[in-house]
């Protein structure tokens, strides 16, 4: 079983493409050490940014003496400094993620995506933390920037099994509370949960200054509903069992599903989060590189 083999989560193609593109913080992240990313803290480090007038309480060491000498005005020198960032990976481990119409389940796909992201982040010496949740946070792997920890992360991912209902809003609130420094929050979920709770969670994360990326993991069956004949749908996460002819309701279902995706995308847009559809029918490398290319372009502007 692929789920039991931690190494299976690392897709060589995805890693290869991801290495080239890198994970660039779209927003200014608050790092805890110097890295590739711009720090929100403008201060006194390497690269001059701007002057501002001195106010009481400022450290006189940052006064620009040259300006004072020429203009007799007190200005403080401000600098931009590069910093590294922390990526919080929030992986939905609810029972609904167990569905897989093809070879792999949504959970496996999400775990692979999380593992690849973690590897890429660690590879560029940024830090990564992983939170596995369903109705609550089941497991939290604290942040680390040690690439050697990737095996530990993958083992923990492999060991996790989805059995419970989802409570995405609660999980996001937990992360907002835990992640004090601004960073990147990557949510990997099928989002089959309370939509208001999800949007609330997004808002909390955004208030905390985090950049939020939502990977909406869906199976092709869920996107296309290709079933024929008479089928009994056994609901996961305690949903009712339903017998129907898919042909009778296909259009209606697809409309509902599309509407849900549009709502989720709209919620992301409203909160300045990034919505990415992760179709498990697509190769992981395509999903990841597609997003990273997009991100690279955006950060380059």
């Amino acid at each position: 079983m692929a789920d039991s083999d931690p190494q299976s989560y690392l897709d060589p193609v995805a890693i290869s493409r991801g290495e080239n593109l890198g994970i660039l913080a779209r927003k200014v992240v608050e790092g805890y050490r110097v890295g590739e990313h711009r720090s929100p803290f403008k201060g006194f480090a390497i690269e001059f940014a701007q002057h501002r007038e001195y106010t009481v309480g400022d450290d006189p060491r940052h006064l620009d003496w040259k300006v004072l000498g020429r203009t007799d005005r007190y200005y403080i020198k401000q600098y931009e400094q590069d910093t590294n960032f922390v990526v919080q990976l929030l992986l939905d481990g609810s029972e609904s993620m167990n569905y897989g119409g093809g070879k792999i389940t949504k959970l496996h796909y999400a775990k692979s995506l999380a593992a690849c992201l973690a590897y890429l982040v660690l590879l560029q010496r940024d830090a990564v933390a992983v939170s596995l949740f369903d109705s609550e946070t089941r497991e939290y792997i604290p942040r680390t920037d040690n690439l050697g920890k990737i095996h530990h992360i993958m083992n923990r991912l492999a060991a996790f099994e989805a059995t419970q209902k989802t409570s995405l809003g609660a999980a996001m609130a937990d992360i907002a509370r835990i992640a004090k420094a601004r960073g990147i929050i990557v949510v990997l979920s099928d989002l089959f949960d309370d939509e208001e709770g999800f949007e609330r969670g997004l808002q909390q994360l955004r208030f905390g200054g985090h950049e939020v990326i939502v990977f909406h993991v869906l199976d092709p069956d869920e996107l296309e509903f290709p079933f024929k004949g008479r089928i009994e749908f056994i609901g996961l996460e305690g949903a009712a069992t339903l017998e129907t002819s898919p042909a009778d309701i296909r259009k209606s279902y697809l409309k509902e599903m599309d509407a849900m995706r549009q709502r989720m995308r709209a919620a992301c847009d409203r909160t300045g989060s990034h919505y990415v559809l992760a179709n498990t029918g697509q190769a992981l490398a395509e999903t990841l590189s597609g997003y990273l290319v997009f991100r690279h372009k955006v950060t380059a502007r």
Partner: protein
């Protein structure tokens, strides 16, 4: 509403088929663990009513389709009081088409038979596919053109078109009986008989039996009588043609009595009557001044034949609207000469006292100078001359007062008779009764045993012959007062006759020719082999009886000559439809037989001469048309046999059966459209509803539409929604 195939209604149970299919398809349900159930729930809730409505609609459509198919196979039909349309018939029908001679009566444009055919054609045009019909031609005999109901209407129509008219008489009962016997065993709830007739009185001759037949079968067989023609039309007919008591011989005047009947409503004046021999122009012509309505007049015309052999005579009157009975033919064998041998039992020097004196003179009733031309040649002989085999050259041998015969003579006589000779025996005082009764060879020839000679009772001086009520063809002539009577024959002594019991062959049974006034047989006859024997109970001389000097002696002898030579026996005149058969020499067996039918110029090859055990047979069966028929063997230009087909004189009476007599029959079944004669104003008590228009066609259209709708809806509903 009724169902012509009700068993198929069990097919309605098949409406459960769609439900059963639905239930049986349940086990094929797939199960999937599904994450996005809330969208499914939402979709199902939104579409539940629509899906249920679609499912129910399809279920109803499919069940309806199955039910419609079952109904179509059950063949529903409206029950109707109105004109039944043969087209709506689910049940088989038999069409009885009257093709008797009277159906040939024309109204100036078309015959009754043509009208009847048009009515049948109309019936057939209303026949829907799936209906079936049989066709019988009915006259006084029944001919099945289509013996069993067929659904091939084209064949039915063609058979009706080609149906021939016969010159036969009318009798509806045999055809109706045959139709009932045919229909009764057939399945179904209802069967129909359509009778198309001119309702001539003769057709209803068995009216009682027809009523019984209808009563017995009225529940499941409806009889419709469709009547063509007017109530009765004028018709003049040759209703009789008879050779009046003479033997047809070469160059001898042959007197024929031609009877003309007036079946019209008014007297007919000046009716010319012609008599023609074979195909020649008329030999004689006469005029009947007047014939009262319903009466007949006889006119005697004379014909002569130049050649011996088989010939025909045809009497004719001017044409009218029923041409078939404007002429009448008879066939006869014209003899060149007849040799008669008179064997006298005793000898007497006085010729007038000889036993054969009266016979010899009566057989040649002409003056001595004409005797040489007369066709009967008489020779006298003694009993011992019968030992010669030359006796076979005679057509007739008379024994008069012969006491006994030698065994050889007896054997010769027996062979002579067996091979077609005629023997006429007159006993006398010399007759040995014991020999006549007991000789093992000779006694077999006689039709009766002879008693000892006796005289009339003491109170009577003589015994007379019967004066009326003659039944034998030899004596029926004297039933007519104008012919005189045999009652004047007086007998003073005779040998009482006791008829022998009839043998197995009824045709050879002894018959009484004439009786005494007290009922005892006076003359008897019987057939022996191919010949005939006539036995008198008294002498051929005036010693015991006045017969030899009675005026009837000569005609009686002539009739005997005619009878024994088949000239008067009527065997050459047959009824329409009756086959003709006559023995011929066995040398003809296997040879080609051809016929020249009435009014035709060319011979028609009709088969071969059949071979029998002792002789060959000439047979011909297609005798529906009245008139003379000539039969030829091989290339022989002379006919081997001639016979005539004569129609029933009653058939010329076109008067219809009084409506009151047949009203219950006409009312028993629903009237048929377009036949006012058969349409009663009010339905009778026995009136019953019959299946009318069948509904399978509109139902089939509905089923087709339903199937198309179901297919379209099923396709539409199966599209993703």
């Amino acid at each position: 509403m009724t169902f012509l195939n009700p068993a198929m209604l069990f097919g309605l149970l098949a409406v459960s088929l769609p439900v059963a299919i639905h239930l049986l398809s349940k086990p094929r349900l797939r199960r999937i663990k599904w994450a996005a159930n809330r969208f499914l729930l939402s979709s199902v809730q939104k579409n539940r009513r629509r899906i249920q409505a679609e499912d129910i609609l399809l279920l109803v459509l499919r069940a309806l389709l199955v039910a419609l198919l079952a109904l179509i196979f059950a063949r529903p039909a409206f029950l109707t009081d109105a004109a039944p349309q043969i087209g709506g018939l689910a049940a088989p029908a038999v069409i009885l088409l009257d093709n008797s001679m009277s159906m040939g009566q024309s109204d100036g444009v078309q015959t009754r038979f043509d009208q009847a055919k048009a009515m049948v054609d109309d019936l057939l045009s209303r026949m829907s596919s799936g209906s079936s019909g049989a066709l019988y031609l009915v006259s006084d005999h029944v001919k099945a053109l289509i013996p069993k109901p067929t659904q091939d209407l084209a064949i039915l129509r063609r058979s009706v078109d080609q149906a021939p008219l016969t010159d036969g008489g009318s009798d509806l009962y045999p055809g109706l009986k045959m139709a009932v016997d045919l229909l009764k065993p057939l399945p179904g709830t209802h069967r129909e008989i359509f009778v198309l007739t001119d309702s001539q009185m003769a057709a209803w001759r068995e009216l009682g039996k027809i009523r019984d037949l209808q009563d017995q079968n009225k529940k499941d067989i409806a009889m419709h009588f469709l009547i063509v023609g007017e109530k009765g039309e004028d018709n003049l007919a040759v209703s009789g043609l008879q050779v009046s008591g003479t033997v047809a011989a070469v160059n001898q005047p042959l007197r024929c009595a031609v009877t003309v009947s007036n079946w019209g409503h008014g007297a007919v004046q000046n009716v010319p009557v012609k008599l023609a021999a074979d195909d020649a122009p008329p030999e004689d012509e006469g005029m009947i001044d007047s014939i009262e309505p319903g009466a007949s007049k006889i006119i005697t015309l004379v014909a002569r034949f130049r050649d011996p052999g088989y010939h025909s005579l045809t009497a004719s009157i001017p044409g009218d609207r029923l041409p078939a009975d404007n002429q009448r033919s008879t066939a006869l064998l014209v003899l060149d000469q007849i040799r008669a041998l008179v064997v006298e039992g005793t000898t007497n020097p006085d010729p007038s006292e000889r036993d054969g004196f009266f016979l010899s003179h009566a057989l040649v009733p002409v003056s001595p100078d004409q005797a040489a031309q007369y066709y009967v040649k008489v020779a006298t002989a003694q009993p011992n001359e019968l030992e010669n085999s030359t006796i076979n050259q005679n057509e007739l041998i008379f024994l008069s007062n012969v006491a006994q015969l030698t065994p050889r003579s007896a054997q010769n006589l027996r062979d002579y008779v067996s091979h077609g000779g005629a023997l006429i025996v007159f006993p006398g005082p010399a007759t040995d009764v014991n020999f006549y009764n007991n000789d093992p060879i000779f006694s077999i020839l006689l039709p009766a045993k002879l008693g000892p000679a006796q005289e009339p009772p003491a109170a009577q001086k003589f015994l007379g012959w019967q004066s009326k009520g003659y039944e034998h063809p030899l004596t029926t002539l004297w039933n007519k007062p104008e012919s005189g009577t045999l009652g004047g024959v007086r007998v003073t002594k005779y040998l009482p006759l006791t008829l022998k019991p009839a043998p197995a062959d009824a045709a050879a049974a002894p018959q009484i020719v004439v009786k005494y006034a007290d009922g005892e047989p006076a003359v008897a006859e019987q057939t022996v082999g191919k010949g005939r024997v006539v036995l008198f109970s008294s002498s051929a001389t005036t010693e015991w009886t006045t017969l030899p000097i009675h005026p009837s002696f000569v005609p009686l002898l002539i009739r005997i000559i005619s009878y024994v030579t088949n000239g008067l026996g009527g065997s050459l005149d047959i009824a329409p439809g009756q086959p003709f058969a006559t023995p011929v020499d066995s040398e003809y067996a296997g040879k080609e037989l051809s016929v020249l039918r009435p009014g035709e110029k060319k011979h028609r090859i009709v088969g071969e001469i059949e071979s029998g055990e002792q002789s060959a047979f000439l047979r011909y069966g297609d005798t529906e048309q009245a008139g003379p028929y000539q039969l030829f063997i091989g290339d022989d230009p002379k006919p081997k046999a001639v016979f005539a087909v004569q129609s029933d004189p009653e058939e010329s009476n076109l008067a219809q059966e009084p409506k009151a007599d047949i009203e219950p029959l006409l009312n028993a079944a629903a009237p048929v459209a377009g036949t006012e004669e058969s349409a009663p104003e009010k339905p009778a008590a026995g009136h019953h509803r019959v299946p009318g228009q069948e509904l399978w066609f509109p139902l089939a259209i509905a089923a087709l539409v339903l199937a198309l709708v179901e297919t379209a809806l099923a396709h539409r509903f199966s599209q993703a929604k």
